[in-house]
């Protein structure tokens, strides 16, 4: 029986294992150093906030794995020997495979800041990070202030977590507005306001210089690069993005760049070794996607796809229309298709229509081609939209007028919610007249 070994029990590795089991009888082993069972990384914040217990983040009950003959092995893979098709576990045990899948995810970025390895300085990625945060910041007496470095999705989640325990938070953001490399300015501004509403000390255009230690080697303050200001704190959260977690593959002969290089079949340069999820890097980006896609959904899709290949139905990774979602404190965000804030990704034909509610934190940005009027994508804040409808409209290449006139069909808010399609439509019409 062919033995499929998967390193990493995250969403990509587990999606693969489940689909291989559905389609075949192969022997499956999943190795991970992090936890015994698959859990949802996206839910780590809710454990610290007390919305859930850690076991609630596990999407399958513990009996599931045995019942589906998916062997789970706890251990850290220190080496891959592709000539003998073996792995080295914890530097000691050897373990053989027929096909190997690397699904080792990411690790938080550290940019060589002085003091970045002090006690009390941490990222937020793994279960261990969660445990560390519980120890470093159990309440606002032990942690009188936390400083978060890096204004992205994980940074704002970390700020929300700490605020749930009334811990004062200073949030250092390199950009001049929150996440404005991704969000168009109107949206980004609205999130700035919302961050302040939550009594988070938001510092825009601010970089970290260094982290200072106390006599016990624990972080006691950060120094701001621009002003030299010293901010006293007990915890420093480093949330300036993530990068593939592939250090153990350095001299393995597997082609690496930032991530593990793969082709469209998710194969590496070495036969019978594949890579999926956060750690995989496409030779060439697919459409407007990035070569490394570190999101939940793409990890799952790569797992679904590779299972086909491994079970004898060679299938290219061919994701459909881009979608994503997040939540900024209390504001839900969804996106379908592409809305680019700026930079090289935004082509000169991409035009935006932006509508914002006069009082509530609700807004919509629709991107379209100003020459052909083709609808390109939508960002929504505080309004839920139907994935299925936007996916269809994108496939049909609907024009922007059609989308705005039919927006109601895509609304996914709970029943009895106020609808804003009429306001959006009239704003759009006004816009056309003034433009």
């Amino acid at each position: 029986m062919e033995h499929i070994v998967i390193i990493g029990n995250g969403i990509s590795g587990i999606s693969l294992a489940r689909h291989v089991r559905k389609n075949s009888d192969k022997k499956i082993t999943v190795i991970s150093a992090e936890t015994d069972y698959f859990f949802s990384r996206t839910a780590l914040m809710y454990v610290y906030m007390g919305h859930m217990k850690f076991e609630h983040t596990q999407p399958y009950e513990n009996w599931f794995w045995k019942k589906n003959r998916i062997d789970l092995l706890k251990g850290f893979v220190t080496k891959v020997d592709h000539e003998n098709k073996t792995l080295l576990l914890n530097n000691s045990k050897s373990f053989s495979y027929d096909k190997l899948v690397i699904a080792t995810g990411s690790k938080p970025n550290k940019f060589g800041w002085p003091g970045q390895d002090l006690k009390g300085v941490q990222g937020l990625y793994s279960k261990q990070d969660l445990d560390d945060l519980e120890a470093n910041a159990p309440n606002n007496k032990v942690c009188k202030r936390a400083v978060i470095v890096g204004g992205g999705l994980i940074g704002i989640e970390m700020a929300e977590m700490l605020r749930s325990r009334n811990i004062p938070v200073t949030f250092l953001v390199r950009e001049d507005s929150f996440w404005n490399g991704v969000l168009p300015s109107g949206e980004s501004k609205m999130i700035n306001e919302h961050i302040l509403e939550h009594h988070i000390d938001l510092r825009l255009s601010t970089n970290l210089d260094k982290i200072l230690a106390d006599e016990n080697g624990k972080a006691r303050a950060v120094v701001i690069k621009e002003t030299g200001e010293e901010i006293a704190c007990d915890v420093v959260g480093l949330t300036a993005g993530v990068s593939p977690n592939i250090d153990f593959l350095k001299d393995s002969g597997i082609e690496l760049s930032r991530g593990v290089k793969v082709n469209r079949f998710l194969e590496t340069n070495i036969k019978d070794i594949y890579a999926i999820g956060d750690c995989a890097e496409q030779h060439e980006a697919i459409g407007s996607r990035r070569p490394i896609e570190a999101v939940w959904y793409t990890g799952r899709m790569m797992g679904e796809t590779l299972a086909q290949t491994i079970c004898g139905n060679p299938t290219e990774y061919k994701p459909g229309h881009w979608f994503n979602s997040a939540k900024f404190l209390d504001i839900e965000y969804q996106t379908y298709g592409w809305v680019f804030a700026g930079g090289p990704a935004r082509k000169e034909y991409e035009e935006h229509f932006h509508w914002r509610h006069p009082k509530e934190k609700i807004c919509v940005t629709i991107a379209f081609n100003k020459d052909t009027k083709e609808f390109l994508g939508i960002n929504t804040f505080g309004i839920r939209m139907r994935h299925e409808v936007f996916d269809r409209w994108l496939t049909e290449k609907q024009d922007v007028d059609y989308v705005i006139n039919n927006l109601e069909k895509a609304n996914f808010d709970p029943e009895f919610y106020k609808h804003f399609e009429k306001d959006i439509l009239s704003a759009y019409k006004n816009n056309l007249q003034t433009a």
Binding site: T42, M52, E304, T305
Partner: protein, 529 residues
């Protein structure tokens, strides 16, 4: 693997989040109100009962209102679940157990030892707690209070005070707000006031909470009840006809259009209490597969019991002689069996395929009921069915199901089993509505394509113990008989994945293997096979 080992003993907050001074004062006000009730319970004789009752209920309400306002209105609107698994009361800590024990004792006394609450025996005047409620009862219906009046009043106050809290907690969510106003209205008007006024108009009419439908209202077809209605002329007749229509016409139509939520989380009193006072405990329901299995057995056994018991009760007071009245024992049994057979055949014919393995269990249930009814018919006498007195069977049902299960366990165990253990494991009405919801209803919870991140907030919040995430992460709609449509899973989902809606039957159940967002050809290949 608890991430947090030291449960805080504080009633209201985790150790990290100190309760504000205002909240402390509010808590104290509420406790003074409760303390007046406790004093009354221990026979402190208050001089002006009306005043002290008003004071007590007023303070409890004001305390809850002030507390809720300070807890929610001082913050930006949004999901407010911080610390629910840290607080002792809402995570089966010491406070949770303490409240559970107190509630359980209260229910046991209420059902079995009302004299300790001060119920006057044989027409004697009430004392203690019950006497405190006499002025209000006199005002409403002109008679002195009973333990049920005390219970009903406290129940209504609880739904109002905690309903207000719930409305503030979900002030960004109109579905939750409107639904809560609805349960508050039905509790006040239908369960509390109208029956009292009906008594005032006609004191011979049996107590009838119009929104309480058989088999939840298991005594409506009892002999005393039916006789009570029929001896009261047109209004009584109208009421009993309404009772029958509610079961066979109104309920199926509304459930078809809206799912069982129209009843369970918009109208029903048990549901009303669970959604308001029980809201803090919703996360405690077990999501395990084993709990689901237990649920399916238990609730259907109760359903069989309640059908057989009700038919048995009606049976005992019907005649054998068709010359006096057309509805004889034989005719009645034939009608019941005929009706059940019709339903069973229709389900198999239209939904047999969809049911798959469950059809077998349905068949077992059907034959058990019919078998029992036939045995009853051929062995029963005027007052004996299954060789025991019919009345005994009825009182056994009243005791074990009506009191112990629905009251003592259902509500007393809120802080242990979660807020809807009765609705989930025991309520025969929920079983019937659920059966219909699963098979003949437009209601479902739509899953939003591929947006689920498997975080588990939805499952955690489901008071009915449904593992909502198991469906959502597969891109599959949630069509479950037990879902009461409370909408909280949808509210707490951080990615906007869930929407409760009534839509066409086609595509309602949509098992998929590969979710929207992936390769279109792959989706077609895998999902269509």
């Amino acid at each position: 693997m608890s991430n947090k080992l030291n449960h805080s003993m504080s009633l209201a907050t985790p150790d990290a989040q100190d309760i504000s001074t205002k909240q402390k004062i509010a808590l104290a006000i509420g406790l003074i109100g409760l303390f007046i009730l406790v004093l009354a319970l221990f026979n402190v004789n208050f001089p002006n009962k009306g005043l002290f009752l008003t004071l007590s209920l007023g303070l409890i309400t004001i305390g809850t209102v002030v507390y809720s306002r300070d807890a929610y209105l001082t913050k930006v609107k949004g999901i407010k679940n911080d610390g629910v698994w840290f607080k002792s009361i809402s995570s089966r800590g010491a406070w949770g157990w303490a409240v559970g024990v107190i509630l359980t004792i209260f229910y046991i006394v209420l059902y079995f030892y009302p004299q300790y609450l001060g119920l006057g025996k044989n027409g004697e005047a009430n004392t203690g707690l019950i006497s405190l409620f006499d002025p209000l009862s006199n005002l409403l219906s002109g008679r002195s209070a009973s333990q049920w009046f005390v219970y009903g009043t406290l129940y209504t106050v609880a739904i109002f005070a905690f309903g207000y809290k719930f409305i503030l907690k979900y002030r960004h969510n109109r579905y939750e707000q409107i639904r809560t106003i609805s349960v508050m209205f039905f509790q006040l008007a239908f369960a509390f006031l109208i029956p009292e006024f009906m008594y005032r108009m006609n004191s011979n009419l049996p107590y009838y909470d119009l929104k309480s439908v058989w088999p939840l209202n298991y005594y409506i077809f009892d002999e005393w009840s039916v006789k009570g209605f029929l001896s009261n002329g047109n209004i009584g007749l109208a009421l009993i006809i309404f009772g029958i229509l509610s079961v066979f016409v109104i309920t199926p139509i509304l459930t078809y259009k809206f799912g069982k939520r129209w009843y369970c989380s918009w109208v029903c009193g048990c549901g009303g209490l669970a959604e308001t006072a029980g809201d803090s405990f919703r996360q405690l329901s077990s999501k395990k597969m084993s709990a689901w299995k237990l649920e399916r057995w238990l609730i259907h056994v109760v359903l069989v019991f309640s059908i057989v018991m009700t038919v048995g009760m009606v049976y005992t007071y019907l005649d054998n002689d068709g010359t006096k009245y057309w509805l004889t024992k034989g005719v009645f049994i034939s009608i019941v069996i005929g009706f059940l057979t019709l339903v069973f055949a229709a389900v198999l014919y239209f939904k047999g395929k969809e049911l798959g393995k469950d059809a077998k269990y349905g068949a077992i249930g059907f034959f058990v009921i019919v078998g029992l009814l036939l045995v009853m018919h051929f062995t029963g006498t005027t007052d004996e069915i299954f060789f025991i007195k019919g009345r005994k069977l009825r009182s056994a049902y009243g005791l074990y199901i009506g009191s112990i299960f629905s009251g003592v366990i259902g509500t007393g165990f809120y802080p242990i089993l979660g807020s809807r253990s009765w609705c989930r494991f025991g309520c025969p009405m929920a079983a019937i509505l659920g059966f219909q919801q699963r098979l003949f209803s437009k209601f479902r919870i739509t899953t939003n394509g591929g947006q689920c991140i498997s975080c588990g907030n939805c499952s955690n919040s489901c008071e009915m113990g449904i593992d909502v995430r198991a469906y959502a992460q597969k891109g599959e709609n949630i069509v479950r008989s037990s879902c009461v449509g409370c909408g909280v899973c949808s509210a707490v989902c951080p990615r906007g994945v869930l929407k409760l809606e009534n839509d066409s039957l086609e595509g309602r159940i949509n098992p998929t293997e590969i979710l929207l967002g992936n390769d279109v050809d792959l989706m077609n290949l895998v999902n269509k096979k």
